[in-house]
């Protein structure tokens, strides 16, 4: 199943089928486009990805959650293309036997995605545009450590 889509993301649909009666806790993260960036109005975000490697990284994160927090399941979906303010850009769901693991694993999955997945976004303003400042490689990442831009 593709974890990347250029179609609107529906969190409920993305998370359908996550977990079962063994999972007493489900934590969902939904990321949306902010209409402001500092002092600037954001008209839209434009996402792009190196899709084959991004799919692989997201699959690795899902698998890591299941291995590191036993009994847990993780689902990740990410938007590509043009996203308007308020639109959903990323959905992460974690189902675990207990809440502590679900919260911790969901946060971990999001942070790892932000540091490792080869996905980029450009902010478009009324008077121009700019690539969003990239994240440095996560310490546990197979991605070679670089230095953040600027």
């Amino acid at each position: 199943m593709s974890r990347l889509t250029d179609q609107p993301l529906d969190p409920a649909a993305a998370l359908a089928g996550l977990g079962d009666a063994a999972h007493g806790a489900v934590v969902n993260f939904v990321g949306r486009v902010r209409g402001r960036s500092g002092e600037r109005t954001v008209l839209r975000l434009e996402y792009e990805a190196y899709a084959p490697l991004a799919e692989q990284v997201l699959a690795e994160i899902e698998a890591e959650v299941a291995a590191r927090w036993p009994g847990s399941q993780c689902v990740i979906r990410h938007r590509l293309g043009v996203c308007l303010p308020g639109e959903v850009t990323v959905v992460i769901g974690v189902a675990s036997p207990h809440r502590g693991d679900a919260f911790e694993a969901c946060r971990h999955a999001l942070e790892r995605l932000k540091h490792e997945a080869p996905i980029w976004k450009r902010e478009v303003y009324p008077d121009g545009s700019a690539w969003v400042r990239g994240q440095d490689a996560h310490p546990t990442s197979p991605r070679p450590a670089g230095t953040p831009l600027r």
């Binding site: 991004a54 990410h78 080869p118 996905i119 670089g146 831009l149």
Partner: protein
């Protein structure tokens, strides 16, 4: 004999397109090819120290040996989510 470079985000802007073909004579370290590419596209020069790379779909370092027909991706610091 050529190597294809896939360029994303700021790297795509620097080469003014999603990919670049570089003619090569035999297998060479990625670092040497990147130096040539930065010569052809000066806008890449300041960006490359901050980039990660993949060779035929797998993460790699600058000392990776790149053969004819290979596909290299130039991956600036990521900003997904």
């Amino acid at each position: 004999m050529s190597v294809r470079f896939l360029c994303f985000a700021q790297a795509r802007d620097a080469v003014e397109g999603p990919q670049v073909e570089l003619e090569v004579s035999g297998a060479q370290p990625l670092g040497a090819l990147l130096d040539r590419l930065a010569g052809d596209y000066p806008g890449l020069q300041p960006l490359l120290p901050y980039c990660a790379f993949s060779l035929n779909g797998a993460w790699c370092q600058r000392d990776a040996v790149v053969a004819d027909g290979a596909e290299v991706a130039i991956l600036p610091p990521v900003s997904g989510g």
